[in-house]
Structure formats: structure tokens, C-alpha cells
């Protein structure tokens, strides 16, 4: 799994994820999210770019939801962008999309954050 960080505005980090999000990569993914968020407490929004995520199962979902509370306490948002159709299906089936919106691209994510007044 490869993670590339991109800072967007004052309050948002976008992580471009490449690879599989399963039990094998869950620890690394969890640790990376924790590091990114702990480094700067002003960064309260997390955009996860899943364009290059080929696979996700309950382990990967658990890591995302595990950060949800921490982001919520910062009054921020987690948004997922550009999932491949089969990955999107897993996100929708799991119900995670009820609390973590899924949008098509970075601009849509930024628009959503502005609408919510958290950017």
C-alpha cells in the first residue's frame, strides 16, 4: 500500500491511496492516518482518494471508521473520492456511506466541505 499526502487549504489533508485495504495493510493504514492527524491538529478534514484502491474489505473499512470519531471530535469530516465501482459497492453495502460521503473527485469533496462550513 502506498499513501501520498496532499494538503488542501488550511484544514484538509487528502490522502491518495494505492493498493489493497485488507487485514494485511490495516495496521500500516491505521498508523499512517494516526500520524497524519497527530502531526497537525488544525487539519480536521480527511479526504481519501480511492481511485487506485483495488480492494477493500471489513478490515479496511474498520480503519476508516476508527478515525471517524477522532475527526468528529475536531468537528471535521471524512470524505471518500473516486472509488472504483466494485469498491464503491462494498462501501455502500457496509453502510459506511451514511457517515462518510462518497463523491466523484477532489473538487466535489472541497465543495462539500465548503457547504458544511468546515473548510
Amino acid at each position: 500500500m502506498i499513501l501520498k499526502e496532499e494538503v488542501i487549504g488550511r484544514s484538509t489533508i487528502m490522502l491518495h491511496i494505492t493498493g489493497d485495504l485488507d487485514a494485511h495493510t490495516a495496521d500500516e493504514f491505521r498508523q499512517s492516518l494516526a500520524t497524519v492527524l497527530e502531526r497537525d491538529i488544525r487539519k480536521k478534514n480527511l479526504i481519501l482518494d480511492m481511485k487506485n484502491v483495488n480492494f477493500i474489505d471489513s478490515s479496511g473499512l474498520g480503519v476508516i471508521l476508527g478515525r471517524y470519531r477522532a475527526i468528529q471530535m475536531r468537528r471535521g469530516k471524512i470524505i471518500i473520492t473516486s472509488p472504483q465501482p466494485h469498491v464503491k459497492k462494498i462501501l455502500e453495502f457496509s453502510g459506511i456511506t451514511r457517515v462518510v460521503p462518497v463523491v466523484s473527485d477532489k473538487e466535489s469533496a472541497r465543495d462539500l466541505l465548503e457547504q458544511k462550513g468546515v473548510e
Binding site: 494485511h24 480492494f55 474489505d57 471489513s58 474498520g62 459497492k89 453495502f93
Partner: protein, 144 residues
């Protein structure tokens, strides 16, 4: 004549999850599944193997996970076995919280038939079967 089959044995390390998924997808690719159905099989298989590694063996690489694929009635049967600790009701609840309790939900949603045999101290055997939806529709059409 017996249908196609394949068997995998690997250590209880999560690094083998990708191997199991690729093997399952390749086996399924020889049958009449759509790409969507193959992705569903990969998720169900990944969940079953993750269960064996994480809960059966607590990620002990000395443990052995066995995965069997069988072609059956133009569908695919998958058996995932471990000789780990087996499912204890109390422990099952704790472990469900880590992965949101979704593992078994995905398995039951994506496979047509699921049988789980687990005894504390003796290991777990998950048997799953899926048949291409296209064949079910054809069969239903033939019956009219």
C-alpha cells in the same frame, strides 16, 4: 467426471491474503461468473481467510490455512479451514467489533450458501458456494 479443483495451503500470515484472492479470482474466472460476481467472491474469500488468520491463529505464521476451490454444478465451492482456536461465543463478539462485525455479513451476502463449522480448540471450517446468476436465470426460464 470430477470438476476442476485447486487447493492452497499457506501460513497464517496476512501477507498471504492477496495470494488467496488472486487464486480464487483466477479459478472463478474459468467459470461463467461476471466480473462483479468475481469481485464478490474475492471479498467473501478475503473475509473467510482473514478470520482464519486473525482469529484462528492470532496471526501466528506457524498456523496453516487451507483453501480449497471446487467447480460444482457450474458454480464454485470454496472451503477455508484452519486448526486454530475455533469460535468461542465471547471472543466472537470482541473480534466482530474490530472489523465492524461485517466479515460474516459480507460472506453471507455475497455467497449463495454458507456453512460454518467451528468448535473451540478444534478450528473452523467455512464452506461457501456461489453459482453464476446468469445460470439461475436460465434455469428459471427453462422451468416456465
Amino acid at each position: 467426471m470430477a470438476g476442476n479443483f485447486a487447493r492452497l495451503e499457506f501460513s497464517g500470515s496476512t501477507s498471504n491474503l492477496g495470494l488467496a484472492r488472486v487464486a480464487g479470482a483466477t479459478f472463478a474466472g474459468n467459470l461463467e461468473f461476471t466480473l462483479t460476481e468475481i469481485e464478490e467472491i474475492k471479498v467473501a474469500l478475503s473475509e473467510a481467510v482473514s478470520n482464519a488468520i486473525i482469529h484462528g491463529y492470532s496471526e501466528n505464521p506457524d498456523g496453516v490455512v487451507k483453501v480449497h476451490f471446487y467447480e460444482e454444478n457450474r458454480g464454485m465451492k470454496i472451503i477455508v479451514e484452519d486448526r486454530g482456536c475455533g469460535m468461542d461465543e465471547t471472543k466472537k463478539k470482541e473480534s466482530d467489533e474490530e472489523r465492524l462485525g461485517l466479515g460474516l455479513t459480507f460472506i453471507k451476502a455475497f455467497m449463495d450458501e454458507v456453512k460454518i463449522d467451528s468448535q473451540p480448540g478444534k478450528g473452523t471450517r467455512i464452506e461457501m458456494y456461489k453459482r453464476p446468476a446468469r445460470l439461475e436465470k436460465l434455469a428459471a426460464g427453462d422451468e416456465k
